[in-house]
Every structure is written in C-alpha cells, then in structure tokens.
Point group: C2
Chain length 191, copies 2
C-alpha cells in the first residue's frame, strides 16, 4: 500500500466551538496526547499540516509549548521521529484564520470537510471524498474534541463525511483514533 | 459499512516483553488512555475482548482499578457508553494465561497474530488475514506498548501482520491509533 502523495489534505483539531455531553457549546482544553497521536497519523499518511484551533490564549500557549519542546527543544533531539510529526502542527485561533493560512499557501481556501459520529442525509461516502481528493484541490478535515463539532460547524461545512462505524451500533471512538482511521481510509491506496 | 459479527477476534495490549528505544527488553507502565482508546475501538468494531497483559502486580492493580471505576464505579453511571467499552477489558499476567482463557471460553486456543511497524519476509497481508477470520476460528491480535513487541513474541506468533504504513516511509503511529486502524481494516466490510 502506498500513500497518495498528490493529495492536498490538511487536518484541524477544533477546541471551540464543540459540544459537551449535554449538547452545550463549550471550549475544550488542549490534550497533549491528541497533538502527538494525530500529528503522527498525519505524518504517516501524508497530510500536509495539523491545525490545532482554539481561541483561548493560554491554551494556544500550551499547544505552542508542547510543539516547541518536540521541534526545537530537547524532545526533538531525544526522538527525531516525533519531531518530524510535531513539525506539522500549526496553532491558530479560528477556522477562518486556518482557511486564510491555507489560501495563502495554496492559492485558494480549502474545501471544509466536517467529521461526525452521526449519519445525516447529506453525509458523503469515504470513497466519494477519496475521489475528490485526487483533483489536488486543498481540503481541510475538521475533527471536534469533547463530544464533537458544534452544529454550526457541521452545517457550514462544504462536505460532511459519513461516520466511521455502523450507525445502528456503537460508534464512540476517541478523536485520536477517529482521525487516524479517517486518514488511513482516505490516504492509503488499497491493493 | 457493517462490522463482521461472525468473526472471533480478540485484542491484547502487551506490557512485557516489549522493547525500549535501545532495543532492550523491558516491562512498560500501563497507560490509562491506551485502555480507553483501544477498548472503545474494540467495542466499535466488534472485537470480543481486550486483554491488558502485564506480569507486574501493581500495574495489574492499576488496570483493574481503572476498569472498575468505569464498569461498576461512578464512571459507568456518568458515561454508560464508556462502560460498554471498558467491560471488554480482561487483565492477565501473560500471553499464556490469555491463551488459556480464550481456550476455556471458545474450546481452542487462539491463533496469535503479531503486529509490527516493520515488514518481514513472512508478513501476511491484511486481506489474507481478513479472509482467515471469516472461518470463525478465534484469533488474538497482539500489540506492543513502548517501542513494540519483543523479538521472541514476533517469532513465536502464528501470523505476523504486515505493517500499516508504507514501509519505505514514515510509520510511527501510537499503539492506540495503530490498534484502531488494524481493527477498522479487518472488521469493516467495505462497500
């Protein structure tokens, strides 16, 4: 199996607006292991960047500190493979700033692809998105922390990706595992 | 996509014998998030159990305490979906004890399937293993913590599964994400 190198795919981990257990919109805290695991998956499957998005100053500072430790700090010397992964991380304040950043680098804003554990009438199949990625158009896959993306992000997305699991059964993966599976499904050409 | 319900697949997370960064055999510490993430993936994709294996008494006690909190303790009341996942966890001292446990439940010891980030001449393709699972024979997928399974576990396995990533590139996933991807590839029937 080979990764699809012509694909222009970016990943974003959203900390606001997301929902809590009661469906209320909240800002979640940055989790160290989310950054490591999703950056490692992004690097393994050839995504171009992992955007860590939060409007909270102290949370952006925490994320930047983690990234620095593993890129320019002692972590990168201890573990160069981890450095290669965490070098893909960009810390931003909002989805809008992230879109502008990608537009600045690639000449056009990305197609926004929302992920959700529930199925909606407008959900798009993995195989359909995989085909669209072959065009080389920048796409930004967005994942929600806590109990998932706030409804306004799901309705504002250009594409809503179908859920990973059987929608009649149990589908409660961590955001770390969900992001890894989605990247594997989209970026690895099967024999 | 539907999970493959006739398959008799078990997962084991090995804390000894595994290797450290320098290739030395060590016993690793139990990590709370490994148990949660891999149990959630096991439940999502229909694995029958997650065995958490360590010969260290205090580490088994820690694992049992985490499981109790989320099954019979306050965690399970707060989050019943998490309880459903952590109910799949069995804590054991060794691979041998795990094999006996599965043999006691299903009438024969499981086929041992080792996972590794490196490719070997005897590596078996995901599609081949997927076909073998259709027979309903019990299989036990083993994952190493730290820097991976010790060489003796890899050579003693019945099947060595091919690596997830492109073996010429970067393939450094967390064990949490690797286990989730392997379960997704083996247990979800693609359209």
């Amino acid at each position: 199996m080979k990764t699809l190198s012509g694909v222009n795919l970016h990943v974003a981990l959203i900390h606001y607006p997301v929902v809590n257990k009661n469906g209320e919109t909240v800002a979640s805290a940055v989790t160290n292991l989310d950054l490591h695991d999703i950056a490692r998956a992004a690097r393994t499957f050839g995504a171009r960047a992992l955007y860590v998005i939060t409007p909270l100053d102290d949370q952006r500072e925490l994320a930047e500190k983690i990234v620095r430790h593993w890129t320019s700090g002692p972590g990168g010397v201890h573990n160069p493979k981890r450095r290669e992964a965490l070098e893909l991380i960009r810390v931003t304040t909002s989805l809008e700033e992230t879109q502008s950043h990608i537009a600045g680098e690639y000449g056009r804003p990305p197609v926004i692809v929302a992920t959700c554990a529930r199925r909606y009438p407008k959900s798009v199949a993995f195989t359909t998105l995989e085909e669209r990625l072959q065009t080389g158009t920048p796409h930004l896959l967005i994942f929600g922390t806590a109990w998932g993306l706030a409804p306004e992000l799901i309705s504002a997305s250009d594409i809503l990706l179908e859920p990973i699991g059987d929608h009649e059964g149990y589908n409660h993966l961590s955001v770390r595992c969900a992001a890894a599976i989605v990247l594997d499904r989209l970026m690895m050409r099967r024999p």
